[in-house]
Symmetry: C2
Subunit: 163 residues, 2 copies
């Protein structure tokens, strides 16, 4: 079966999951409200994040490509909880300045243009800094193996090293 799926980022964020017979062009709308290529999406309300963060779920996992893709924006002070990915993850920092830490290592400052490879089952967290916002494209890999496993929050003391 030949399947063409062309969808826009903002379309997905609005719940339009796929389109086989045309293209959803929402880029102009997006540009009208933000300079970002991919709009910041929806405010994250689950307990796996602290502070204010936004998710634009660009590509949902499927059994064909075995990856998922989301653009995540962390306002200053925001971060994920500690977690790991059964199949690994790759981060492409697209805007701003933020933090990345693996368990037992020091906090690394990351910024626009940086790329981070998080191997499977390595406990880590990522987010903004106390004073800077950060946006990254997060690519979950080998999603056929499994997704994120969420752990405890990053404490204020741990986060204070992000500067």
């Amino acid at each position: 079966m030949r399947v063409l799926i062309i969808v826009s980022a903002i379309g997905l964020a609005m719940g339009i999951s796929s389109c086989n017979n045309g293209i959803e062009h929402h880029a102009d709308t997006a540009k009208a409200t933000t300079d970002m290529i991919f709009p910041k999406g929806d405010k994250i309300t689950n307990d796996n994040f602290r502070g204010t963060a936004w998710l634009n779920y660009l590509v949902e996992n499927d059994s064909v490509h075995n990856i998922n893709i989301g653009s995540v924006t962390f306002e200053p002070g925001a971060r994920t909880n500690w977690h790991y990915h059964k199949g690994g993850q790759i981060l492409l920092v697209t805007e701003g300045k933020g933090s990345y830490q693996e368990r037992g290592k020091s906090v690394k400052i990351i910024q626009e243009g940086d790329i981070i490879k998080c191997p499977p089952n390595i406990e880590h967290w990522h987010g903004a800094t106390p004073t800077d916002a950060m946006t990254h494209i997060a690519i979950g890999t080998n999603t056929n193996i499994g997704g994120a496993v969420w752990l405890e929050p990053v404490t204020d003391e741990q986060f204070a090293h992000s500067k």
Copy 2:
């Protein structure tokens, strides 16, 4: 084994393959020469493309994540040859306006913010339009299955429909 690999896009383009003990920060250098998040990289000189195109190879394939990532910039008139991917591909259009066509279907115009899922083994091509440049992040998926298989060039007659 715990491995942290943080590298910059431009670092990879320059042949710096990985860095386990620090972060390569070349974003400022990149911004000094271009407004793009990821610099356009090196001019593509192989026969799988027509016209002038550029590749910044952001993430090389590895057996851990099973994807590869490149930012590809097509100047007006440039395009890939016809090809297919044994493991599939996902395109994130990050700048400009371009073309995407699957064998037997009409040319689709794609633009900044669009996302294209190319399933495995579907013959297709992508590129600029005759008058517009286009940049996309290309993510090769399931690279453990195999990579791109290159076919014949897109003819000028086929490409003329890209408008």
